[in-house]
Amino acid sequence: MTTQYTFQGYHRPDGTVGVRNHVLLLPVEGISNRVAENVSHIIQGTLALQHPYGDLQFGQDLDLFFRIMTGAGANPNVAAVIVIGMEPVWVDQIASGIEATGKPVARFTIRHVGDLVTTEQVARKAQEFMYCASEMPRQEASLTDIVLSTKCSESDPTNGLAANPIVGTVVERALAAGTTVLFGETSELTGAEYIIAGRIKTQDQQRKFWQMYHEYIGFIADQRANLLGSQPNQSNLLGGLTTIEEKAFGNITKIGQALIDGVLESAQAPPGKGLWFMNTSSAAAEVLTLFAAAGSVLCMVATGQGNIIGNPLMPVIKLTANPQTAMTMAEHFDLDFSTVLSQQTSIDQGGNMLMDMLLRVAGGRVTASEVLNHNEFVPVKLFRSA
């Protein structure tokens, strides 16, 4: 019999479950940020998702942009969305994509209206959406109903010794209970990529993985740059990680011994339950933005040297096993696992503590990243605009 992990969550019209209840103000282009920000100051509790892009993007880059923006609005942590843009065509494309989830969506365009009138229109709709969202109840939900994600960041060798294996045991338990988990960081598998490939359940998905991996590594090789200092980065080197292979072997311990159901493009929603690898960079703000756009409602970030990352759409649980980091940056962590590093606490006991925290956060306990207002929303841009 599998363990039932339950919490009080928000059941959405499309059957998904969220752990937060945001009213989102979603600007389509960077120049529409101002209206979203204005309204976020006027209507208490709204979330303006500001970003610099959305102008003259094309091809694969535009496809990814639409997946990110539509996915952000569709995320189960979002109760209702107002899409704001300069012209109606891209506004409609994003708003219609979000409407498919059945949640309330409104749209406003600024051209031939101006910021001031649009601000008033959006504010009045946001007020209505806030009343509506505030009466949506939290109801019993299961870990099975949600999409989790995990990332390690500003890593050092304490990640591979303790922090990541603790996440790994929680990933194994969550998968055994029937939930969905996302992980990524394509280039950061280098040295251990064959182990990940060997864990993918089907040959078809293994082929896709190798295609993604080689394409990404080819792109990096084409830059003809020395990566030492970038990947591994300066924090990794300072913390004691020497090579990409060493970093990779620490990295992959965060999925435990789990098998992988398949691979996803950046910001692609998983087509089923289980463990999914997403093709991403290893930059934390980019990766978490892509996970959230794919429907992840909660993310576990294991850090060694101390990443301060958060995400506006989903709570981020941050943990470290490095005693120096836990002491010097205590306000950034939800869990301090330095006693696991010193062998006073077992990985399994650490897993119990993390699972407990995960269910508490899912039920409403705020994370360090939330109270410190870390709202990094960083859409990935694949190439220059036209």
């Binding site: 030492l228 004691g240 620490g250």
Partner: protein, 94 residues
Amino acid sequence: MEPNLLLHTSEDHAGIAITEIKAGEKAHGLVLADHAPIELDVSEDIPLGHKIAVRTVSAGQPIILYGHPVGKALQTIRPGEHVHTHNMQSLRWP
């Protein structure tokens, strides 16, 4: 004695200091895979999180961590020495 050095597997060429260890001090190592103890003299100051060689690796030879090659030695590395970018390099992105 509480360990101040952890090794992932018994095949590993280096362990990771989980406290600062000064030159001349002893490392009390523990192998996580089988809980075997290892003792050695440390010849350089080692910051927390950094690697200490537990066996000799000749120049050009692969360095094993997690039971797998994760780089190569740029020069001969002896037990007790600090292992980092000055004497170790990636096999994949040199």
